[in-house]
Symmetry: C2
Subunit: 349 residues, 2 copies
């Protein structure tokens, strides 16, 4: 496959320029699983610079999941981390240089998003919070203007400084605190329900997803309500369990040891049995090996508990939900608690 | 579950003594998946010493798979690595202390092994190579004597210095070079076909497994022949493939970067496309993400290709088999090649 046939734009010219600038010699490439099939394009480009290239075969969930261990073992000087960042950028982390590159999806999402806006306006929502995932940021300014011309008052914000409008799978608290009072509804351009669900859970406002891959509009409320009902049921189950495992991931941006220790101690203080367990990639098959735990607190990516609960035999809790176990009651629970990244221990004696 | 009910003996008194001696404060426990259910026994013992305990949730395939990364992240001073070592022993690796502990299976395997010996003697095999996996080494001397009394001439050897008679899943070359000419057949005490298959592949002599878990005798030849036929078929497929991935594992005892690079270069020299890919745990679901590779050389645990080929959509080769791809022919192939840990490039121009 040549560059022109690939549906993604990896900003190769800018990547090459950065790699030359830092004189990269050995590069570990990270791609999300769905994009690993395009690796030969990147490999060819890098080998043309006389760089030795390795592909990380592991998952690559986000910038939280930099493969530093693999890069160190293979003695790479640089990681090329693709698909989770809104622009080509350079960072340095523990002596390894990180070149981030976006994977911009080439299909123009504006006609689809404009149809999505009409659905929201038909519900009386004119003040729109607009976001796209990293893959569609290349269209963001154009999209914003098109929606404004179509009659919307468009607002957005930024979780990280590099690019307004980019939404990621966690950290919705930032959006809520600064933006939510200004808007009636949200429009998200991105594949699948993942990012829109996070917004809905956090804001409880109408969210429409314009999915450029399926060319489909998704109203999040209904599907979300199913997920959240099941979630509430699992949390209720958790209250009765005695034996907890607090699960730590070693991934660089998901590792929160002190929080895990605090949660273990609080659970033990309430008469629970609570153990600390550690892995890089958390999966159902790993948790099945510890039948002595009947409930899990995931101190890692908060999306595991929300999106993947059904794959696990026992309840998964996020840190923001632990207070309900400590209280022994789900009273006043809101789905927003599931995405709170800390203990939120107000009102817990 | 109390210690007495557990079917394994973890040599806890010796472990405690070692941990006290090194003044361990924070310990990461590694257990193979099947033994993780007994973790509470270890945890209780360690917490009684006022040690903070973490369980590694990851696979633990052998001493080749020490969870140094997890131990460093959680700031543990010690790893307690259970179930792959014939005695309690202490090592130090990159500032982390490794306390190895066996997991001795309590059931006496001697009656079953004696029945296995009778089967071999009925075939005219009197000179027996005797091995057990780490789980049954506690019975090894007694077993050896019982078989000698039953009329066998028993030989054994040792792959690592610590305990004669221990068999592991790789490194059968040592056994072949020193022992094979002295024996007519092998008797292996251990669960499943895994270790006996390695012996059979390497020696092509009768191998009987006495499996204390199922209380069953297994003659390896027939099951092995099925596995090996399928293997040969897959290798033949590999000869026609153009696009190779050379798969490196970052596991401490499975990491062979220079060998992987050499294999990549040799394959490229024969007109193949060959890429280096890296992961910690190699799995079918990871390889499925790189459809541009149609054959894989596994420069990691040699058992993945032998025992798990069926789970993978494309042929897996071990380093000792690469010469056949370079030659473009399977002529003179023997299953032993599959367990040769290096390139064995004799007769490759």
């Amino acid at each position: 496959m040549c560059k022109e046939e690939c549906p993604y734009d990896f900003r190769l010219a800018e990547v090459v320029s950065k790699l030359k600038e830092i004189q990269a010699r050995k590069v570990l490439v990270q791609l999300p699983n769905g994009l690993k099939k395009y690796y030969p394009i990147l490999r060819t480009t890098l080998e043309d610079l006389e760089i030795e290239v390795f592909l990380s075969l592991s998952h690559s969930w986000g910038v939280c999941d930099l493969a530093l261990g693999e890069a160190k073992k293979t003695m790479c000087d640089t990681i090329l981390h693709v698909g989770h960042h809104g622009q080509v950028a350079l960072y340095t982390l523990s002596d390894i240089k990180i070149v981030c590159s976006p994977a911009f999806y080439k299909r123009n999402p504006i006609p689809l998003a404009t149809r999505g806006l009409k659905l929201l306006m038909a519900k009386g929502c004119k003040r729109i919070g607009l976001f796209t995932t990293a893959q569609h940021l290349n269209y963001f300014q154009e999209l914003r203007e098109a929606l404004s011309e179509a009659g919307a008052k468009v607002h957005t914000t930024q979780i990280f400084p590099w690019m307004p409008g980019q939404i990621i799978g966690c950290r919705f608290d930032t959006i809520v605190s600064n933006l939510d009072r200004k808007v009636d509804a949200y429009l998200v351009v991105g594949g699948g329900i993942f990012h829109g669900l996070g917004l809905f859970v956090t804001t409880n406002k109408p969210v429409i997803i314009a999915d450029p891959y399926s060319n489909r509009l998704i109203e999040v409320a209904e599907e979300a309500s199913q997920i959240l009902k099941k979630r509430l049921f699992k949390l209720m189950e958790a209250l009765d369990k005695k034996n907890y495992a607090v699960v730590i991931s070693t991934k660089i941006g998901q590792f929160r040891l002190a929080l895990a220790q605090k949660i273990r101690d609080l659970l033990r203080g309430r008469g629970k049995v609570a153990e600390l367990v550690v892995a890089d990639e958390i999966s159902p098959s790993l948790l099945l090996n510890i039948p002595w735990a009947q409930a899990f607190v995931i101190v890692a990516c908060p999306r595991i508990a929300i999106d993947h609960q059904e794959e696990y035999p026992y309840p998964l809790l996020n840190p923001g939900e632990v207070k309900y176990v400590l209280r022994g009651s789900l009273e006043e629970y809101t789905p927003k608690d599931s995405l709170v990244p800390n203990l939120s221990l107000n009102n817990v004696a």
